[in-house]
Symmetry: D2
């Protein structure tokens, strides 16, 4: 699908072979990105070699559908293959550490979905493996794909360029409603042992990563609260206890002096996938909503006050991050291309021998914030130092 | 201005005499309401007898401009007058308790601006005076005027009617930017001894009152944080310390099980007067922004999901609270009429001998929440029980 | 209510006496303005002397309610009174010419509601009377109140200042829905002999006035179409024919080269009072909606394209037209104050001996555009030159 | 990429071979759709056999990049190939007729981009060829891809289901700004002999197709105006005359009694790709903007008026058209998938032996409306009967 030997592309001995592990929601989204990245971006040639899953028939069907040459059921065999250069981990969180560490040790570049893992200890082991591998030229990246929303990448540019002056406040929320119905059934995502946490790890993690990414800063203190509104849900054998949070709240102090509030919920009826972020600085402000991901609102506070207002920038100009590859202005792109952009950047980093960002260390830092919020929540919201 | 003797109006021996104390921002807004209420609503006849202020020349000019028959400088003399039936207290917070208690003891109905006072002790004394007075048929009310925004009154109706099912989450913020400029000068509003607190008492109080009002519930636990971004501002003799908060954050648990987050800031650049409230229930949700006060967004979660969406209700139909008195549909009303409606309701309560709402007890309850947030903020955000 | 003798105000021998004719919708709105203008603006002192209507009891009640000293039923007697200096005509359109001409001849300043009259001949006679009167220092004005929406006044400033470059296109519509229900009954507004026309004269007239006002230009060519969707409506004695348009469309060419499209409807279900205007120029663009009258969207096309976007200006800063008189930023004003501002400007023009704007000539120019649209509509939309 | 033999899929002897002609903007967009359709939808297996263009080197690069097995430069040879079953025509409009007629005669299914051709005569010849071919089981379709925006497909459903009652008015516009800059250079799109028309054929055509599609009705009368704001633009050898319209306006009467206004412009500064459509009926209304293509605003006028409002439906539920194939709710899709959906429907129609929609007859009908608008514009906007 990509075109080796064309002008501006690296000559490579052979295309990079990719294996993806997992073919559910994330596997489908990542497959899309692998299938299409070369059609839009000048990246090293890749081949979708093998898709890995537990059920042989289902994974074979998914492989055929999503553009993979083969399917397999044993990830250990796959990461041992010579024709596999990249391992893309879309499996559930409790499998991340084992697979990622093995793949890195086998010399494969690793892309791992967020959250990094379900426990801090696992995350720390993954970071150690990533650091070892990096020293050997083996790269790794955690999949905070919303860093590749063009509007958010552009927001970071504006902040880094000083257009907001000193950032003071961030108001972030990630609201969904797929658990709003009390009759919605029990799943592995609602059990602490499999999911680690609820809205906190699943979606607040994205908001927290954005806070740190946009400001180029890290959280230093956290106060939090967790709550489960629907304590029991129908399982196979009657009602079962939900052991993760439906919603999470946190107040975060960043090292540089900004304060951020974060709220996440999977029971906020009417909000479908609404990651909203507002950033208030001394000279400018920003607002964003993932449900309108092609738009960024920017207020420039430096001109005459009577002319000021949040302007709705349709982030589809060739001058905007990633957009030159796509369609003419105003022809909006979809959520899936956060993954296309992620893989573009991952491949370019591999090509250039640079560590991609966000690193597993960045993923660990988010995990530490999540852990601090959980610790605070368990201690009557008392602020925890990171 | 009102029309005694018309059908549907109470026969009164003479119009109710009103005295207002204070003629700055709030005095101007309250005067508007007294001047106009009778033109729109069937209320007891009132006369704007006297406006009270410290500077004789300025208050005389204000009285002439705002429709008051006289001006005066000694509020004690004014509340002793026989032709004064109602005392409307628009003076700064540190004067509320003294004036309100004296007026109530003098048998005058009292409307007092929020926040009720600068200290809990004063607020408690005021409540005691109000309770004594109420037993004698003398009424009192605290000026949480946003309860009289038609869209918010309608929101309360929808919630009370069960249209949201069980309310789970409230996301509230009150963001302004008039202190965003670091060079904005020192004022009495930025000193703890005169203002009590900063964004917390000034505007978070409105948001907290709304949370309790809309849900018909009270806050049982509070965790909070306060922060001053601009620590020193130019005063008459050089830089002075700002001793109140620029911004406040709180996570509140209500007795009925809902959780509310509240954020208030006076440095949120680009937000002019943005009290935003989102309420998420098990069967419906609401969203509101004071900058668009004629609109309410309502999501009815009970129909087919493909038809659901936040609907923008233009709250200007005769069927909406207060609106029958105004203009045809779509002809929007302004912020000032929250006060017109407040005085309408105050006058009707006086006429009917009913205690108006919000009572001074309601004001005290808000003060207790504010105090709990301050206590929590001083203790590393540890949750405080109310 | 106003304050003669204060600094910055003209010394006047006595307050200007005002008579208003009509006390329905427009009379109520104008009364509001007369009652309040002096509380916000430094204008000559006025007294609400007399309100005129046909039914003695009703007009007496309205006078008491709306702040008028007296009521009367014979407008001829009223305009003859020495203590009446200003005649404010809120009567239906078919009475405009007779009253206005008589009042101007009697030496009274005249404010007359739009549309100027129901026929071109009447409008021309009114203009002749206004010109005669003007030569004698007697002023007149037609009530296109939306010129006094602060956001639209600011829009005109931006255009006049060249911020839009060359204006090319205007897209205007005025949509309401109070006739959307086919069962809504017959009224005088739906008969050609009393109303002149339907949506065309009632609301398209506002849109057309705005096109000319904002651009500082006049319509030179018009093509139009009129349509009545509900041809018969219930009257007292059964269904009656509706003889005016429910909706109107026009394409207008302005002398300066811009093209404007105008659409007006009273059956656009869900639009309550939505006068929307978009102006596209070579260097900037604007968008406005009367349902959000405190906001103006402005796009500045002169900066880097990646930073461009329609900015939502909350038109409530002291720097904005008329706003210094009102509330702090973000505290929005209502529709009624378009009339307060209109009367402010009318009074200042009288004080200074300047002809107020829009003049009766401006009103006639709008009537000519309306007539051209009707003529075109009757001739298969063939373009008519003005 | 597709998966023959899976449950629910037709057994086919071999995948359908596709040839695409043209690899610029439309060719890139269509290639995307061919490359991805099988990953999301259960459609007959297809193979991207050959991409055709004039420049051998460029088309070879594009073929490699966009997933085509081969490239070629002679479309006549390609349509003669036995392994080509489908011809997808993305070439400029003046080539449509020749290629489409030849391909249909060669027994290939044809998808042709809109507008159908540059002249009515060519379009009529294409329709004749399509009718002949259809009798032989050879299918054809014109690429009005916006019929496959899920929100618009859902809008059509709501209208067809009677949720709007009788549709009275449609207000449509398609505004872009890529020609707003007077210095933007001359291209083939600005010459009548190559482009046929300007904004009229390029984008008003989409709006007109939508009017007819949404209402399930046809235009019976048209009045129009065309205008070129920038008459000369820089070409290779100095300024050249622009011979097509920058903007177009039309008022259309539909057979069923509705009236539609249509406005299109490529100089509407700040509007990037804004196809806005509002539909007003007797019982409900709709609003849509292509810049927010995942949203539909719907007002249900049948409930209590105080609860009515335009609701913003995020059209991403599995219950919405096409959405079951995609991501979880709230995970928005991009503009490109209007083409993916178009090809899905095209392939299913081929599989089932049904004529796909919109047919070439539908394309011709739009051309007739465009011609009527041009005729009217040349005759002082006098209404033309279709």
């Amino acid at each position: 699908m990509s075109a080796p030997g064309l002008p501006g592309r690296e000559a490579t001995p052979r295309p990079l072979g990719v294996a993806a592990i997992g073919y559910a929601f994330m596997g489908k989204a990542h497959s899309q990105a692998w299938r299409n990245v070369g059609a839009y971006f000048d990246v090293p040639a890749v081949e979708q070699r093998v898709l890995v899953g537990r059920d042989p028939e289902s994974v074979a069907e998914a492989a055929a559908r999503y553009g993979w040459a083969e399917s397999a059921t044993d990830w250990r065999e796959v990461i041992a293959r010579d024709d596999v250069d990249i391992v893309d981990i879309c499996a559930p969180g409790w499998l991340h550490a084992e697979i990622a560490i093995a793949a890195l040790e086998a010399g494969k570049h690793v892309l791992v979905e967020k959250p990094l893992s379900n426990t801090l200890a696992e995350s720390e082991a993954m970071v150690a493996a990533a650091q070892d591998a990096r020293a050997r030229g083996v790269q790794s990246m955690v999949g905070f794909n919303y860093r590749r929303v063009p509007a958010l990448a552009y927001a970071r540019q504006l902040i880094a360029d000083g257009r907001l002056g000193t950032v003071r406040e961030v108001r972030a929320s990630y609201l969904q409603d797929w658990l709003a119905d009390s009759e919605s059934p029990m799943t592995w995502r609602l059990r602490k042992e499999t999911a680690g946490s609820g809205a906190l790890g699943d979606i607040a993690s994205h908001a927290i990563d954005q806070v740190q990414y946009l400001l180029g800063d890290t959280v230093a203190e956290a106060s939090g609260r967790l709550h489960t509104f629907v304590g029991r849900r129908p399982g196979r054998d009657g009602l079962e206890d939900v052991t993760v949070d439906d919603a999470a709240w946190a107040i975060l102090a960043l090292s540089g002096g900004a304060i951020a509030s974060v709220e996440a919920s999977r029971v906020a009826l009417g909000r479908k996938n609404s990651l909203r972020i507002e950033v208030y600085g001394s000279e400018g402000s920003l607002a964003f909503d993932l449900e309108r991901l092609n738009e960024l609102e920017f207020l420039d506070g430096t001109g005459p006050v009577q002319e000021q207002g949040f302007r709705r920038i349709v982030v589809t100009e060739p001058e905007h991050p990633y957009l030159e590859a796509w369609w003419p202005q105003g022809h909006v792109i979809g959520w899936e291309h956060t993954f296309t952009h992620q893989i573009r950047d991952f491949l370019l980093a591999i090509r250039d021998g640079n560590p991609p960002s966000p690193s597993l260390e960045d993923g660990l830092q988010v995990q530490r914030v999540l852990a601090a919020i959980e610790e605070s929540a368990a201690a009557k919201s008392t602020t925890v130092q990171l």
